[in-house]
Symmetry: D2
Subunit: 269 residues, 4 copies
């Protein structure tokens, strides 16, 4: 069964022969191992060229910002999975990453698309607010949520977002994407009727896209960062397990309210 | 249903309140974002303290060494998964990581355990060969494979392994684990009856354990490195898809040899 | 951090105490184990009530129809994953299921939504073609693909689809959803400009929705069916491994066309 | 790079041409869809032949027994994953299945291996207790846990296990594996020093192996059963979400006890 697009059967990332491994045009052993940092290698792998110092710094800062944030759902998922399947460390990491979806960590890429739409609509205009207003009015008309804005608890901007935006300015990479992100924030009250400030999921794409990181690989950034956080938690889970404790607490918070035979009392979960 | 060990309901990785996020004792926004590299953050998350310059360098080198090696099974798996489920980038990464198991990428941790057994057996002895001989003789008696030695094609050491071992010596972290790895290599011919040289899966644990990286988190190193490689491949898959092409080639290589009604000729796969 | 909707902390699927496990109101041990088939139990778990004989038959037929179709991408993914991580059977199944996304197996649910839109647009009308025409014209205007129609190779309907539709008529459950599916097929040539016949991904939702199976659980049907197929393949992979063979063939079909140092010839993949 | 065993490039499960799909020698459309139940198809896919009535009944009973047991860790994991990544139903199922590992659901296959060791040790002997005693004494000497025995709460046998063993006797398939399971239970007090009764993970392999189901596919049985349970929960999660509620409760049960700046009080999790 032939399915799929017509493309040439090629890859441009890595090639090798028994003596040499080439990665993005460079000899891995001779020129990369021991010579560049992992963050520079990530940029090389994804973008195809070495990062500038500013590009490297903003990618480092972004990865540090979102690697770890306590016992969030993906961490709980990962630790519970290791508790029940300790033979498969890789399975516990994979389970945790499966929660990096559109609601929380994946919103970065959606926000990046939003900013791109604003910039396309704005064309050469300096003031991005009319374009921002047009785009988010359309989102509202289509009943789509606004990725990257608002926070369940805080009325102020997420301090991690503020730090990333400041850093981008300090190192001279802040540009049109950051302006688009701020323009959206500014027109939200008029269009939506309430304040929704930038959160980490709008800060990440704005600084990375301004730095030249590709939109279609944005989803990878929280995933890579979070993988590091999960490794720390899975080491702790082996030495000081709380996976089952969390699961007991979660189950105890929920009651059975379905049908039951007369006299049955549920008391386990 | 109460399952699981008795431990205190605590975590020592991260805590937060509405103003501040603490990671391993440090204020994330004030002291980490923009101040340390991702690799330093990985070490902090896993080990609980900042790395020395040597520790940072060897972790960087290791991650760079194994992030990418062409169209290996985990990359194929990840690209095929994105081709059939493009809505879930995180699912494609997770599928690729699920192949980081005991046969290929997970062998690092098994090799690390082997070296630890050698060091425990050796005690204060300078010469690790007798202990190495005892341990691998036992492995052989128990019909267990030797993790980290031998290579399907090459008789010489994997050049990436050589580079990592050399670097560890250059930066002064090479120690007892590297000695254990070499001692095992040296006694293999007498015990096993053929040469099996160190491959990347024995080089990684020897340099990282010498640097003070924890054994129970070794599985995380190839997983983190490979996540970066997968992001590069998944970006390429979106721009230049080959997932279905690889799948067609794989299927075409296999014939159906099961029972069939008279006259049936299989010609699709 | 409080995220998520406001709902009561309850579940209606299962409750238990040390003596009794209740599933959807029934005593699991006394009344379900040994008394009902797995397919009846699936219906009970998902729908909340026992299926009629017709409902049971169409769910059985659907699951049988899509459990297995040779070395498709999800099967390759699963077998390659077991080859590289044999310690985690569950990981190999999970990897295979991650490919049950919107392009191939997940299209059933998308097609089900399409038919529901047609039925809502049609209201009480007997003739569903005007509504079908309106809905697929809108899909076309929004540049969305039509889930469940067309086939890479065949101009005729998928024989599995034909069989499911025939069976639904034989057992008396064929209804408005099947009519909607056929109406869409009939108006496609005029709207799209070419013939696109029903494939398995439109047959499945039409027969199951007519039988009363819930739309939001349609994604589960190919997943459950495919899990059975994967178990068969993973048993074969243990006894007669072809995971690495498929991976070699897939890699050999792709060439490296990225930059390289002068004189480098890639000959491994 | 050539890795992997030398095997013929063949599969015996399914072959097809544009007109016909053959599964295990049968024409899928003409002879299987609408003619056999899903459980019969599962047996056909895994074993390669149709089941007898007794084989079908015991597989149905086993799948019904373990499909659902309330808000166990794998269900929590699956619901939390859907809450954070609602675009990927398949990812939520995969995450849940990744917890079907050696500690809980995967113990069935380990218990099956134990019984096989007992039967090999017993040879033609009628009384399996001496062999059982020898095998579990060896497990104890090797400090391995006994898969399939004991229960965190109950001193009596799990009622689901009792039901499966009774049913196997009723339908005439109970044999040497069930005897091995009981022999192990009987010698445990003398060897281990306390009572550990059969739980569901020893009942499943004993009845299925007696029925002729293959040992190396035992891991698949809880996975298939649990997939059905997860589909029910993921439908409920869409209509009545509790994923975030469970996650809040789990996080609230755990305190941060790591280092922190003076004056920092953690109050979020």
């Amino acid at each position: 069964m032939k399915i799929g697009p017509d493309t040439s059967p090629t890859t441009a990332i890595s090639g090798s022969n028994p003596e040499t491994i080439i990665v993005r045009g460079h000899d891995l052993v001779a020129n990369l191992i021991g010579s560049i940092s992992f963050t520079e290698h990530v940029w090389l792998l994804v973008v195809g060229a070495f990062p500038s110092e500013s590009q490297r710094r903003i990618l480092d800062a972004t990865l540090v910002a979102i690697a770890e944030h306590g016992l969030v759902p993906s961490v709980q998922v990962s630790r519970m999975t290791l508790a029940t399947a300790p033979e498969a460390f890789q399975g516990a990491v994979a389970a945790g990453l499966l929660g990096c979806g559109s609601v929380i960590l994946g919103a970065s890429q959606e926000a990046g698309k939003l900013f791109q739409e604003v910039l396309v609509a704005a064309g050469q205009e300096d003031d991005l607010r009319p374009a921002a207003q047009a785009v988010i009015s359309r989102y509202r008309a289509e009943k789509r949520s606004l990725p990257g804005y608002g926070h369940p608890l805080h009325k102020e901007r997420d301090p991690r977002a503020v730090r990333l935006l400041d850093l981008a300015r300090e190192i001279g990479i802040s540009g049109r994407y950051a302006q688009a992100a701020l323009a959206v924030e500014r027109v939200i009250p008029a269009v939506i009727g309430k304040d929704l400030v930038m959160n980490i999921s709008s800060a990440i794409p704005s600084v990375l896209l301004d730095a030249g990181y590709p939109l279609l690989a944005l989803r990878g950034v929280p995933i890579l960062a979070r993988t590091a956080g999960l490794i720390g938690h899975l080491l702790e889970e082996q030495n000081h397990p709380i996976g089952f404790l969390m699961s007991h607490a979660a189950a105890a918070a929920i009651s059975y309210d379905g049908p039951a035979p007369a006299g049955f009392v549920a008391n386990e979960n």
